[in-house]
């Protein structure tokens, strides 16, 4: 398949318009005083990870933009070829190694729908190569990856959007906007809010299968590349194509599969986009070394007293230690209620397409996506470790638990590193 470079890329458009950029998070254009003119040029696009979620994620990337698919990449070449055929009649070049794809000079936007153990490394590399990114959830496999993604997108001024969109609806819902304003105001003293997520985290569905004998690697699959930054393990087919979710090496069970969908909008509503819980208390049996398994409940408490509780509803006892309680304007004094009423609504959240065109931050930006992923990682670590954990959300480390800290930034397999 031949390379078909887009003649007029967003980059050339930006190069024409960008002069002497200085501050700003994402950049050019409007910040220099020029009127906002959406670029008419075509954006060169690619999908990395063409399996199950790939086509849907790619459609999300293209929404509202004039695009041309120039590359399709997957460690399983057959899948890349199928996607190229379906979306470009085979014109888009196919790759098995994303590094070669990112060398293209006609590429502007990348959709990432690999299993999660690749999300951070490919997101960072894409930003380093100058691309804007829409990345499937969960954002990362462990906490330190998220901070590295945040830093990279800040360093290069690129747009990042996580592949979950519930916060966009919440940000238009009057009740949620009011809750957001109350929680963001800092006026609420002695917060007693308890938010419960009961069920829906697919605990049994995405629990792995231990003890499967190694199998022969299919000819079209680059298994070493699939393992990538995760520890190398012998191939067996349940480690790929969706069932990868049941392995600690690649995802983190239903918690990580579904959790970002649930907690990302909750995190926006309760104004927790820039912090993380400080205490995490689990009820779970000892976990298996390879596969994800059962748990009953996890409570995550923030510094202000706010609590998220998740209950699996699929194993073990219920968490009936405290009643569910939402925030209300009546929790504030009359004087503070007036202050909230006088507070302007938060800025509307920008979709990925609008953020790309306006060179502004998308609604599901890196810091928010990272903090939402942290909820899942911290909950999963408490489940795996079987003990209460105390977390410093500024330093992003556990307090007085060096063994637990080993899971926040586990070493990667060379040559992958963050």
């Amino acid at each position: 398949m031949k390379k078909t470079p887009c003649k007029n890329t967003r980059r050339s458009f930006l190069a024409k318009s960008a002069t002497g950029a200085t501050a700003a998070t994402i950049l050019p254009r409007h910040i220099f005083g020029a009127p906002h003119v959406p670029p008419s040029e075509k954006f060169g696009t690619a999908l990395i990870g063409c399996g199950g979620r790939g086509p849907g994620t790619y459609s999300g990337l293209c929404k509202g933009l004039d695009v041309e698919l120039v590359g399709a990449c997957d460690v399983d070449l057959n899948r890349a070829q199928r996607f190229s055929q379906a979306r470009s009649k085979g014109k888009a070049e196919v790759y098995q190694d994303f590094r070669k794809l990112l060398e293209r000079k006609d590429l502007d936007l990348v959709a990432i729908a690999t299993p999660p153990h690749w999300h951070a490394s490919i997101s960072i590399a894409s930003a380093e190569a100058g691309m804007d990114v829409l990345c499937e959830k969960p954002m990362t496999r462990f906490v330190a990856e998220g901070r590295a993604v945040v830093n990279a997108f800040k360093r290069y001024g690129r747009v990042f959007q996580i592949g979950t969109f519930g916060r966009f609806g919440r940000s238009k819902d009057r009740g949620s906007v009011l809750k957001h304003k109350i929680m963001a105001s800092g006026l609420l003293k002695d917060c007693k809010v308890v938010r419960m997520k009961k069920g829906g985290l697919k605990v049994k569905q995405w629990s792995g299968t231990p003890g499967i004998p190694p199998q022969t690697v299919p000819e079209q699959l680059d298994w070493d590349m699939y393992c990538g930054p995760s520890p190398w393990k012998p191939y067996e087919s349940r480690r790929v194509t969706g069932t990868h979710r049941g392995y600690w090496d690649y995802e983190g069970g239903g918690m990580c599969d579904m959790g970002q969908h649930h907690f990302d909008p909750e995190q926006w509503t309760y104004a927790k986009d820039y912090t993380s819980p400080v205490e995490i208390t689990p009820f779970a049996p000892p976990s298996h070394p390879e596969v994800t398994g059962m748990w009953a409940w996890v409570e995550l408490k923030y510094a202000d007293g706010f609590k998220f509780v998740m209950e699996s509803g699929e194993w073990g006892p219920s968490d009936d230690r405290q009643p569910v309680r939402d925030v209300s304007i009546d929790d504030l004094s009359k004087e503070d209620q007036e202050k909230i009423k006088a507070t302007p609504d938060p800025e509307p959240l920008l979709s990925f397409g609008e953020a790309v065109k306006q060179r502004k931050q998308a609604g599901g930006h890196p810091e928010a996506a990272h903090r939402a992923a942290c909820i899942l990682h911290l909950a999963n670590l408490a489940i795996r470790l079987g003990r209460k954990l105390n977390y410093d959300p500024d330093k992003e480390v556990f307090v007085n638990d060096s063994e637990a800290n080993r899971f926040l930034n586990p070493p990667m397999s060379a040559p992958w590193r963050i």
Binding site: T9, R11, S12, L14, A15, A18, G20, A21, A23, A24, L27, P28, R99, K100, L102, E103, K105, A125, E128, A129, G130, A152, R155, Y156, G157, K204, S207, G208, T209, P210, G211, P213, P214, P231, W232, P234, P285, P286, S287, H288, P289, E290, V291, G293, M294, E314, W315, G316, L385, G386, N400, E403, A404, R406, P410, P411, S413, A414, P415, R417
Partner: protein, 276 residues
């Protein structure tokens, strides 16, 4: 208590998942394993087999559960004892894949005292033992760096890259010369690991080397090497060396003029604005 009886607390898969697991029974078994000490741990390790060579779900689960549960405050004595007993089994005649599993459990709980038992595998290419050993030693921390230094000169192939990367993970300033030599290697990934190690150590004296080498690279190498230059600038800035950071940003502005590198100019501009 008989070891095989202890292991019965851990579930066999019912269908495809471990849904019948009993928390209290497993936790009691972990206590029994800790109390059983060296003999019990060795007996459990003896039941772990190579993948595909038999049924060992329960012993693997039990060892992992114990490695996890000896972590955290107030468990130092149990952690030290379990880690020492588990590390001792690496000296036995066992399949390499089993040793790989043991090393991965030591990554969770071992201390510097176990580094001597793990380090001999840094140059073992079979079953990715070099990778598991490096990751376990990196997790234990900087006190293991001498093992990487010792292993690197003898290393070849994949272990060489992994060990070099380990020296970078541990930010070993005594390995500066090794990193500098690596930046001239014929293999791209070795060159990049060398640049990455120097970036993490962050000395003004390596600014020119990173800038020069990154300009020589093309394609993926240029993308990553340039990224390491920009990260070096941030690291130098954090250390208070504005001069080095400024030199990097000015060089990037001067040299990254291709249309697909405009994001690098923007990044350099932001860096320079920060330094003012």
């Amino acid at each position: 208590m008989n070891t095989k009886e202890i292991l019965k607390a851990f579930p066999q898969p019912d269908g495809k998942i471990l849904r019948t697991i009993n928390k209290e029974a497993c936790e009691k078994a972990v206590e029994q394993i800790i109390a059983g000490g060296k003999k019990t741990i060795r007996e459990i390790v003896d039941l772990v087999v190579e993948p595909g060579k038999g049924e060992d779900i329960q012993p693997r689960h039990a060892l992992h559960a114990t490695a996890i549960r000896v972590g955290g405050a107030g468990k130092a004595k149990e952690r030290k004892s379990f880690s020492a007993n588990l590390a001792d089994t690496l000296a036995d005649d066992r399949p390499k894949a089993v040793k790989g599993f043991i090393i991965r459990q030591l990554q969770i709980c071992a201390g510097a005292q176990q580094a001597d038992a793990i380090a001999p595998f840094l140059n073992e290419p079979d079953e990715h033992l070099y990778e598991y050993a490096a990751q376990a030693l990196e997790a234990i921390g900087p006190e293991t760096v001498s093992h990487f230094r010792k292993a690197y000169p003898k290393a070849k192939g994949a272990p060489r890259l992994t060990i070099l990367q380990g020296l970078g993970v541990l930010r070993d300033s005594e390995s500066k010369d090794a990193f500098r030599d690596a930046t001239k290697d014929k293999h791209l990934e070795i060159r990049l690991a060398g640049l990455w190690g120097l970036m993490r150590i962050a000395s003004d004296e390596d600014v020119d080397l990173l800038l020069t080498q990154s300009a020589k690279e093309s394609g993926w190498g240029r993308i990553k090497a340039t990224a390491y230059c920009l990260e070096l600038a941030e690291n130098l800035e954090a250390k208070g060396s504005k001069k080095g950071a400024q030199a990097i940003y000015l060089n990037i502005k001067k040299t990254r003029t291709a249309k697909n590198e405009d994001h690098l100019l923007e990044s350099a501009d932001r860096g320079l604005a920060r330094l003012k």
